[in-house]
Symmetry: C2
Subunit: 730 residues, 2 copies
């Protein structure tokens, strides 16, 4: 397979997309695939996981670290960049099997040709470490100047987040210590350069307001290149109270074996998840690249951290954790690297207090998980999440207070984790009470209309965000019911299997009392049923809305960036939906909806779906497999699998920039492939497969971790029937 | 008192306001105070009560009759109008004691001065009749041409409502029969002219596409004027199946005693209601003018008709009946001409079926009265009642489906009618079941949150329309409770006083069963209580909204006509309210709120009120009297009393024209004067008065009809104490 992503140009218009596509990272940080000479205008960013700051009235967002890959080359005071007119070759090459980004640019000058090569990677083992190499060569004798060091003037959306930087040389390292506006956190970036002995140069240290760098005056000739190796460490006060000295220590601990270990670790990762698709190179590459994106976002270094909606590709969506993780990404990790799935779930368990507090603020009981979760479960979501393009005024949106379904995603994540792994420790260590509190939250939403014999849930937003404040959103009601059932069943399982642990949990949390309350309502929640045509109404009254297609809605736009939803959007009062809603329900609860009903709803809702969210396509891909139509599924699968490779997703919601990588689409592509086409399901003793591959696929090879055993599965497709081979691997 | 309203100019910019101010009418029709030479561009209209039509996707609105006052004067082919440069005197004079509009214009020409005088009035006894006179004179010998007749090209907002007109001369009358687009109704306008014998003229009949008129070639000299008297009749197929011949008959039944009878009837009307205010001419005139406006809108000719929100001043607000009638106008009629109050209530009783149907359409029980009620109780309100000024798109508004409080206004109207008149016939003839069905409607809205021991009412709009879809609007909850209590109490009263009638009603409507259901919930409705500062929150969460003044909200407007409410208005997410909401509650239920609480809430809410509705000021005027502050009350009273005389109210809601007269403000002014300053209240045997007049008033004289007796009351204010004189009058 082709493990290389190559970009041969550097344009202002494409720099954002390239930065996403060539992203490297290790779960602790993400480094956008920008060039050495780029500045914040080119969206240079090293986004740090799980550390946030808020400036003034701006949104709270993750920190971007000072940039230690800052390098400029001058020939006689002329800056050489990839955009210079005299470039005769330019390439960025992401070797995504190993997360290594290589750059090569050749300039043809009057004095001769100059070749710059750089390489960078984020250490997958020691996540505070980055590695950087610069090589300069020429076919003639010439003099060049290379300035390279740390630049603290970084890209911020709602910044600047640093109120001051300390730039010093210490222990032969360049060091930058940035003080965050919150007056608490500091980010230390340290870089130690080693120059190859054969290189000829003079060096001087330069410090200005925002940068510390070495200026190398270099003599090149055809036989003597300039070779610089740089070891970099980034440490924050979240890692260590003395971040600066810790960074110096980490930096100086680098050794030549780092790279070997890095490569070997990546091979091990691929051994858990690499996919082969016979007869479809594009799908194969797209899928593996999607897994690359998930793996560079995976928090291997933590027991309690999750993956933001735009992963570590920047500050978009406030670096916050959405339901995306549990609904779209979790399954991949769970079936390949369950320890990462446990970390993702650990984050939710550890932020239960934030969810309890949010519920209580709104007058509910139980756990109301944040729509945009940051540290401690703090909901970063604003009540005004969109800007009106016509008035430039903030628009009151209800994502934070009415999108009630997030708590059910947490319950579903914990439930599925236990089902796949049989690892009850998650339940015993906070998971059970988490699910119960989610259930208690839904219970507290219940309203009994005097005229009805059931409970309703009113005034919510379902997965489709274009319709606000609706009543009895089918997804929400069913998932509330599911969550309550889940809580009851999990409690029973724990009580049976771990009676003492149960008693201990009960003693602290009084869960028996809560379970009684849950049992009293579980069967009384209104679960709307499919109508005479087999169609399940998305919410009360949805079928009475104007029935138009997304194309017609689009033709009504009066401004290309205007928001489709909200009080007066082009979709708000129509049946046009942003993303799969009823079909998301039918995927999550495919156990209770028949293939026939799923098919009818698929054909009804799909033409009415804008797919304005990267969460949409994979749900249609998955559900088309439920009624055995891989042909219908395939384009949606491909759209998910290629979402970051091809780019082209929505870049704007109102006037808010929402670009970046799409780990939920990546996870959704994996779900479509493995749970859809391969038909992977849990059953009593072993995973069940019921393949239904796209016609042009000869075979599908993938790997899963089943109860601790790594299994390679090969599905050969021969004239419409399937041969399945299983092989345990090390 | 000055009974004349004089307008001396005719400008394009003021023609709409003048048309309202000089309106004449008789409850069957309203004739805008335009000039004889005006066309539809000047908003010429004769708006008919209770007859509606809808064209295409436009709003359903009342018909404007063809204009029989159309007249043009030419001197040598030069049209003479009030806007001509050679006008040396011009006056429109509305003698509002008798509803007679006189016009006089003098032109100075090279051939001499020309004087035009016209007079028109709508017959207050025979409501299909209109009377018109034209007089032309000159101080020199000259020739003039007068064209005068019927013009069917009328002003329409959502027209044209006529698909064809028949223009004929018949039985010496000019006749116009217009066929309404609905293919059912016809409007016949007939006019018979008589010319004074001394006049010298030649006449020819002219008919064009839209007009039929006589063209008089007139010879004038200083001793011989031209005098034309015109009798007009307007009859629709709602009145008579052969509208045209009926109109001819009506027209020819006119006699010289018509005017005597007209004047005498008006004197009788004023005898029931004229107000005198010692020391405040402006207030006195404003109040009596307001009563004039109410009286020309009063449907004396019917047993079942009501008064539209803009009375008969045009098609604005679709000529529909709002809660304005019961909440703001009814009391005036009830206390002066109770037979008219009975007609207004009769309209609601007769449209119960429409309210039952509306409730059922929305899945409720009982009677959900229309927000904008037309024939049969049909709700003319659109789901898109406002146009966005930035996108020109219709905005989804919730007036129709969420403004639940209208049914309580009906219940209150019936309740108060019975209290004031002791006339139980209204209850026996449909009133009781009407109130019970209103109560059943509120019952069907009740939701019991699982966590609470009471019922809530969610997702409503209160009187303040800027805040949509709120929960537990105090006004709505209290009024729902009041309506249910009312139903129970009225049923008990009927059962006691008219046991047989009760049984008969019960037999048909099964009210006993309904009363049981109502009794079971009446004490369990959540009635929010004033907080520690004595403040009653307008709805759940109101106090958490941004706390700004209307001025600040206004400063945020980006377009002068933009709507303040809805999804993204400048008031929507703030504490700025359109109109009295909590204070409306405190006025209607002043029996359960202490003066101290009313005072505190007055001072809180008034500065946050835009008074963007003509319903607002009088509620603040009334409630200030509840805590004995006539000084605070006075400016709001005056604003109400002068609303049509001074003009200047809101002319636009979004891009929708909302100008016209304000009968609710007129009724509200009467309430402020009589129930506020004079402190009129019901008590066991006689009306109670507790006066609290503005300091500069020496006396207040008014009249009421108390249980069939007309009483003149004089309150003399002497050094802060009051002497009350009562005198029964004939």
């Amino acid at each position: 397979m082709n493990w290389e992503i190559i970009v041969n140009s550097d344009y202002k218009d494409t720099v954002a997309e390239t930065g996403n596509k060539l992203l490297i990272g290790n779960g602790y940080l993400g480094v956008r695939g920008t060039l050495d000479e780029h500045e914040k205008e080119e969206l240079v960013a090293i986004t740090l996981a799980g550390i946030y700051d808020k400036v003034g009235n701006g949104w709270r967002e993750p920190l971007n670290a000072p940039n230690p890959f800052w390098s400029k080359i001058h020939l006689d005071d002329q800056l050489l960049t990839a955009r210079s007119e005299n470039v005769i070759f330019h390439e960025q090459n992401l070797q995504f099997r190993y997360g290594i980004l290589i750059r090569e640019t050749v300039w043809k000058t009057e004095k001769g040709n100059i070749t710059l090569k750089t390489e960078r990677y984020a250490d997958i083992n020691a996540v505070n470490k980055l590695h950087y190499r610069i090589s300069l060569s020429s076919d003639q004798v010439m003099h060049l100047r290379l300035s390279t060091g740390i630049n603290s003037d970084v890209w911020d959306i709602h910044g600047p987040h640093y109120k001051g930087v300390r730039l010093i040389e210490k222990d032969s390292c360049l060091a930058c210590e940035a003080l965050v506006q919150n007056d608490i956190d500091r980010v230390a970036v340290v870089r130690e350069d080693t120059i190859a002995e054969s290189s000829i140069y003079e060096k001087r240290l330069v410090t200005d307001e925002s940068k510390i760098f070495n200026c190398y005056e270099i003599e090149l000739n055809p036989h003597q290149s300039f070779e610089l190796t740089s070891e970099i460490a980034i440490v924050t006060t979240k890692d260590h109270s003395d971040a600066l000295n810790k960074a110096i220590q980490v930096c100086q601990s680098s050794s030549s074996s780092d790279k070997t270990n890095h490569l070997s670790k990546w091979d091990k990762i691929w051994n858990t998840c690499e996919v082969e698709i016979g007869g479809d190179e594009m799908a194969e590459m797209g899928m593996n690249y999607s897994l690359y994106q998930l793996n560079i976002a995976a928090p291997r270094h933590s027991k309690s951290l999750s993956i933001p909606a735009r992963a570590l590709s920047g500050q978009v969506y406030k670096g916050a954790i959405f339901w995306d993780t549990e609904m779209f990404m979790l399954d991949y990790f769970l079936w390949t690297q369950p320890e990462i799935a446990k970390t993702l779930i650990g984050y939710r368990i550890d932020t239960l207090s934030g969810a309890l507090e949010k519920a209580s603020q709104y007058g509910y009981e139980g756990a109301f998980y944040a729509w945009e979760s940051q540290e401690g479960g703090f909901d970063a979501c604003s009540d005004y999440n969109v800007t009106d393009v016509f008035t430039n005024r903030p628009v009151r949106t209800y994502f934070k207070d009415k999108q009630m379904h997030i708590s059910s995603a947490i319950a579903r994540g914990i439930d599925y984790y236990v089902q796949v792994t049989d690892d009850f420790s998650v339940l015993l260590e906070g998971g059970l009470i988490t699910v119960i509190e989610c259930a208690m939250f839904y219970r507290s939403l219940l309203l009994k209309p005097l005229l009805k014999d059931h409970f309703v849930i009113n005034d919510v937003i379902g997965p489709d965000e274009y319709h606000e404040r609706v009543n009895n959103n089918a997804y929400t009601n069913y998932m509330a019911h599911y969550t309550i059932k889940c809580a009851i069943e999990q409690a029973k399982a724990v009580m049976t299997l771990y009676p003492e642990a149960y008693l201990a949990i009960d003693k602290v949390n009084d869960i028996s009392e809560k379970l009684k309350k849950l049992e009293a309502v579980v069967d009384k929640i209104y679960l709307p049923k499919p109508n005479e045509f087999g169609l399940l109404e998305q919410f009360d009254g949805y079928f009475t809305l104007e029935d138009i297609t997304p194309d017609i809605a689009k033709s009504r736009l009066k401004h290309p960036k205007e928001y489709w939803g909200g009080g007066n959007g082009v979709a708000s009062d129509t049946q046009v939906i942003k993303q799969a809603d009823v079909l998301t329900l039918m995927e999550v609860r495919s156990d209770i909806f028949s293939p026939d009903v799923i098919e009818k709803n698929w054909h009804y809702y799909e033409p009415r779906t804008e797919h304005g969210s990267s969460l949409s396509a994979c749900m249609y891909a998955l559900t088309a497999c439920r009624f055995n139509r891989p042909d219908l599924s395939y384009p949606f699968f491909l759209k998910s699998a290629l979402s970051d490779l091809k780019g082209g997703g929505k870049q704007w919601a109102g006037l808010v920039y929402i670009g970046g990588t799409h780990p939920a689409a990546s996870g959704g592509a994996w779900k479509s492939l493995i749970q859809g086409f391969a038909g992977l399901e849990l059953s009593e003793n072993e995973p069940l497969l019921s393949p239904n591959l796209p016609e042009h696929w000869q075979y599908l090879v993938f790997r899963i971790n089943y109860k601790g055993k790594l299994i390679k599965i090969r599905i050969n497709s021969v004239k419409g029937s399937y041969h399945i081979l299983r092989e345990e691997i090390k």
